[in-house]
Structures are given as structure tokens and as C-alpha cells.
């Protein structure tokens, strides 16, 4: 691949764009040597995604970052400083859930980096939290946001009531928002997004320069997790991508890795329900006819990416509702007679707990016994729902309408199981081995669930998002 001059402006390029995907996730680690190598190829942007729902609804509910602040700082510093050194923009999403709290944290971290490294940057910020009143107005006005997955918990059509019950709702920033920020602000040093369509971050620059839509989105799909598309894969190393008129090439920067057709196609499988087609805002990526060719030892060339446009543009909404507070007790059991009778013992204990807390309103708490060694991992899907080993773990899991109540039910349940009698019992001093203190009830905190997982039609892909351009480090 040729070296080239680094462009300092956003003049449209039609020959090729070279983009470096720095990591699989902002906070998972960025390899500095690989970034150095990427810069020698004259990259036009450094891109990284750092938002997800994988870690569950807790982070959107609380606004806390998914990755440790220190890890965010570490990765953002390399990305921001390397982009500055190369005179190219960075395009990142960071913080985890896309809550405005976590976006503000990421912005503050970038400001700190600027201060420490003596950089003066103009950064575009896209806030992805959605104003619930705006959404309620849209729905009340007849806009239908349909659920994306036919899961029973989700309303087929999102209602105003559900929106109002949500603790927080975000929408996925599409490539159009990033494109508009970059075009309206030439010379921008970078873009920081809250919750973003991962693919869109990598596709934004190619789309802005007029590259084919299907190809750009496919490019984004392969690039979005850095060198997870290489072999051996890694979550903390990057991938260089070069997109041209009718194909793109991808290669890892670390000499330890290579891209092969298998590694690249295989990556298209990852965390996706359908390996050939993927719904996106405004259309679907169709890669059923794509070809993957080994170009040299470490580079794969991809061609044949299709795009099937939708009649309307729909943005994905993610929203969470608080369903209670959790308290847990982790306990081991080694007594063979207890283990043999575990199902009966836990049923009897549940009855005792229910009776003891009989005055509580129905549905105000749930008590779950997770029996590790039996079926705690697979649940109803477990093909062997019996204990075969000599030791089990019982995780007593209580979710109730206040932390105090959850703790109280969990603690009572724990002591009940610990002292419950059963036929043939020898260890009459206690049934449970608690590994540490606190033992009977550990306060876990708030519990959330996704109640919004819907696609909202939009006239303008940028409409729900608040954007601004900030000068960093600022005052």
C-alpha cells in the first residue's frame, strides 16, 4: 500500500480513503506501535467505537461508564494525540451507554488530555440522550416506533406511557450526524459521540466523500472492532482499512496478525443474528454476494457489498426502566445429603420466605435461587438439570422495590436456608458456606431492564441529536 501526503482539509477524495480503526472498544486498550505504523500509511482519520448495550441496562440506567475511567483516559489519549500528530480528525464514541453523563465524562477526559499535552482542539460533540417530551410528542402525533426484536417484553409499538416510565433513552447516532458536523465545520479536530451506530462512525468519512453506500457500510462493519477481524484476533489492537471505488482492503498493523478471508468473513458473524443481511438506518446491508480475496499475506480485499434502501429512515432507540434493587447472597454447599435434596429444600425455604413476607404487596419482590452445578447458566435450556458434582453454589438473588427491603428478604432467605432441616441431616450447625463478609445480603443496587428497543422513523437523521463544537481544553 502506498504512502501518501496527509490531507489537511476535507476536499473530496474519490481515489481512496485510509482509515485506522484503533481498537475493538474505547477502553479495551490501544496498541501504540500499531498506531505509529498506521500513521506511516498516511491515514485520513482515526476511528474507534466505545458504546454498547452488551454490558446490560445498568449503565444506561445509572449513567455510569461501562469501562473504568482510567481505561478511557488511556485509550483516548493515544487516539487524540496520534490524530493531532497526523493532522487528521478522530471520530469516536465513548463512555458505554451513550448517556449524557458518560459523554460528558468522555469530553472532560479529552479536555484533560488537551490540557496535559498542550493541545488546542476544536471538537464536535454529539449528545445521544433523547428528550422524552420530544419523543412523547412524536408518538402522540402519530409516529410509530416499532420494536426491533419480537420479544414479548417489548411493546409492538412504543407507547407514551413506556417512554415516561423510562429512566433514560438514547438514540443511535448515524453517520449522517457525523458527516454534517464535519462538513459544517472544516478543520474540526475530532468528533465525540454518545451512543452511536458503530458501523456509522467508520462509514461517515467514506460516505461524506461520496463512496458507495453499501461498500461504506460494509467497510464499517468489518472495521468496527479493530483487529478482531484479524487472526489471531485481539480486542486491543487495530485495523487499517483502505476504501476505493468498488472495493476495500483491510490489514492489521501488528506483524503478529494477518487478515484472511476466514477471519474477515468470520467477523461478520460476531454478535449479529444474520450473517448475510443487516438492518441499518435507511436500509439494509446485503453481503450475501460479497467476495473476500487474500491480496497479500496479511491483506484481504472485499468486493460486492449491496445496499437495499428502505422507504424511510429509522433510528434505533434504547431505553431502560428501573425495576427495583438487588441484594444477593453467595453460598457454597458441600454436604452430600443437602445436595441430594437441594430442590426440595429450596422449595420449602421459598414457602417459608413467602409466608414470612406475606403482607408485602404481590409482585413487590422476586426471589431467585440460582443453583450453580445444576442449571444456573442455561436455565430452562439446560439439557442436564440435575447436580452431578460434589459441590454446588447457591446464589440467592432478590430484587425488591427498595434496597432495604431487598436486603431484608435476602438476609432472611439466607438464614432460612442455612438452618433448614431435612431428612438425614448431619451438619446441623449450618447448611451454607459463605465465602466472605458481608455474607447474608450484599447490596448490589439498582436493577434496570431494556423497555425501549424500537426503531423511530425520522424525517431528518440529525433531528433528535444535540450537537455542538467546543474548544478544548477550555477554561
Amino acid at each position: 500500500m502506498p504512502h501518501a501526503d496527509r490531507p489537511q482539509t476535507y476536499e473530496p477524495r474519490t481515489d481512496e480513503l485510509r482509515i485506522y480503526s484503533a481498537t475493538s472498544f474505547v477502553g479495551h486498550g490501544v496498541d501504540e506501535e500499531s498506531v505509529e505504523r498506521a500513521l506511516s500509511y498516511g491515514v485520513h482519520a482515526i476511528v474507534a467505537q466505545g458504546t454498547t448495550t452488551d454490558a446490560g441496562p445498568y449503565y444506561l440506567g445509572t449513567g455510569k461508564p461501562v469501562m473504568a475511567e482510567e481505561a478511557l483516559r488511556c485509550d483516548l489519549e493515544i487516539i487524540v494525540c496520534s490524530a493531532h500528530k497526523a493532522g487528521v480528525p478522530f471520530i469516536v464514541s465513548a463512555g458505554g451507554s451513550g448517556s449524557d453523563l458518560s459523554t460528558a465524562l468522555s469530553l472532560r477526559i479529552i479536555a484533560d488530555i488537551c490540557r496535559e499535552c498542550g493541545l488546542r482542539l476544536k471538537v464536535g460533540v454529539v449528545w445521544s440522550e433523547i428528550d422524552p417530551d420530544w419523543l412523547v410528542d412524536r408518538i402522540a402525533g402519530g409516529v410509530e416506533a416499532r420494536r426491533i426484536v419480537p420479544a414479548l417484553r417489548l411493546e409492538e409499538r412504543l407507547s407514551c406511557e413506556t417512554v415516561k416510565k423510562c429512566k433514560r433513552i438514547v438514540a443511535q447516532v448515524g453517520p449522517e450526524v457525523v458527516m454534517r458536523l464535519l462538513s459544517a465545520n472544516p478543520g474540526l479536530d475530532g468528533v465525540l459521540c454518545g451512543r452511536a451506530l458503530d458501523v456509522g462512525l467508520y462509514a461517515a468519512l467514506p460516505l461524506m466523500h461520496g463512496f458507495d453506500k453499501g461498500l461504506s457500510m460494509h467497510f464499517g462493519k468489518i472495521m468496527e472492532d479493530g483487529s478482531l477481524a484479524a487472526t489471531p484476533g485481539s480486542g486491543n489492537d487495530g485495523l487499517l482499512g483502505i476504501i476505493r471505488k468498488d472495493h476495500f482492503d483491510v490489514m492489521p498493523m501488528s506483524p503478529k496478525r494477518r487478515c484472511t478471508p476466514e477471519s474477515v468473513v468470520g467477523h461478520a458473524f460476531y454478535e449479529r443474528s444474520d450473517p448475510s443481511r443487516e438492518a441499518n438506518p435507511g436500509g439494509a446491508l446485503d453481503i450475501s454476494g460479497s467476495t473476500y480475496v487474500q491480496l497479500d499475506d496479511r491483506t484481504v480485499r472485499v468486493t460486492g457489498s449491496g445496499w437495499v434502501p428502505d422507504p424511510e429512515y429509522r433510528v434505533k432507540l434504547e431505553g431502560v426502566t428501573r425495576i427495583g434493587y438487588r441484594s444477593v447472597c453467595i453460598a457454597g454447599v458441600r454436604d452430600p445429603q443437602f445436595i441430594r435434596n437441594v430442590d426440595v429444600i429450596l422449595d420449602e425455604c421459598r414457602e417459608i420466605v413467602c409466608h414470612y413476607f406475606r403482607t408485602l404487596p404481590a409482585g413487590s419482590y422476586t426471589l431467585t435461587f440460582r443453583v450453580y452445578g445444576r442449571d444456573a447458566v442455561l436455565g430452562a435450556c439446560e439439557p442436564v438439570p440435575v447436580v452431578e458434582g460434589h459441590e454446588i453454589c447457591i446464589l440467592i438473588d432478590v430484587v425488591a422495590d427498595s434496597q432495604q427491603r431487598a436486603d431484608s428478604i435476602c438476609s432472611f432467605t439466607s438464614s432460612t436456608v442455612s438452618h433448614h432441616g431435612f431428612p438425614g441431616r448431619l451438619s446441623t450447625a449450618g447448611n451454607l458456606a459463605m465465602p466472605f463478609s458481608p455474607g447474608r445480603a450484599i447490596s448490589v443496587g439498582e436493577v434496570y431492564q431494556f423497555s425501549v428497543w424500537h426503531a423511530l422513523p425520522l424525517e431528518d437523521p440529525c433531528e433528535p441529536f444535540r450537537t455542538e463544537v467546543v474548544s478544548l481544553p477550555g477554561e
Binding site: 426491533i148 417484553r153 478471508p261 458473524f269 460476531y270 444474520d274 436455565g379 428497543w453
Partner: protein
């Protein structure tokens, strides 16, 4: 032969909190062809081994280009359900391991 003896990867992960997706990869072309042509990986099999309705199976795909098979199904309990035991869905592969491939 069992599936676990023919595949080089048998993994599971969430594709959203509501869908489990299972990937199988084969280093050996003949092993891949054998599993594919045996018909053992099907909507019916997935429904049976995971004890879910056939209607919950989103799809079964064979991708020759990477000798890969993908199966996706709606979870009986969402990953963030209070009684769910696998937030990332990364340990849902076991029921496939012992499948007999004829």
C-alpha cells in the same frame, strides 16, 4: 461423531439482549461439508436441544466462504431478565456440543 469433535469453534453470544446467536466454524472443509449435508443443524434440532418453540428460531445459515454455520434464536428469557443467568450470552453453546453428526 459429535459436533464438538468436528468443529474448531462452537460459540454463543447475544445479538441484542433478546437473541442468542451461535456460531460454528470448521477448519476442515470435509468436516464442514459433513455437518452441512447431514442436516443436523436445523430449526427443528435447535428447538429440540434448547427446549424452545420452533417459531423462536430466527434462522440457520451456512456460509461456505468461511466454513461457518450460524444459528440465532429468541431467548426464552431476555439477557437482562431478573432470572437470566448469562448477561452476555457467552455460555449458551453447551447443548450443541454433544450433537451426533451422522
Amino acid at each position: 461423531m459429535k459436533l464438538k469433535d468436528l468443529a474448531s469453534v462452537i460459540r454463543s453470544k447475544n445479538a441484542s439482549p433478546f437473541i442468542t446467536t451461535l456460531d460454528m466454524f470448521f477448519e476442515d472443509e470435509s468436516n464442514y461439508d459433513r455437518v452441512k449435508s447431514s442436516g443436523v443443524i436445523s430449526t427443528e434440532t435447535v428447538a429440540r436441544v434448547y427446549k424452545i418453540p420452533e417459531a423462536s428460531v430466527v434462522g440457520v445459515w451456512f456460509v461456505d466462504a468461511c466454513r461457518g454455520i450460524k444459528v440465532s434464536f429468541l431467548k426464552p428469557r431476555a439477557a437482562d431478565d431478573v432470572v437470566s443467568g448469562d448477561l452476555y450470552g457467552a455460555q449458551q453453546n453447551a447443548p450443541l456440543l454433544e450433537l451426533e453428526v451422522t
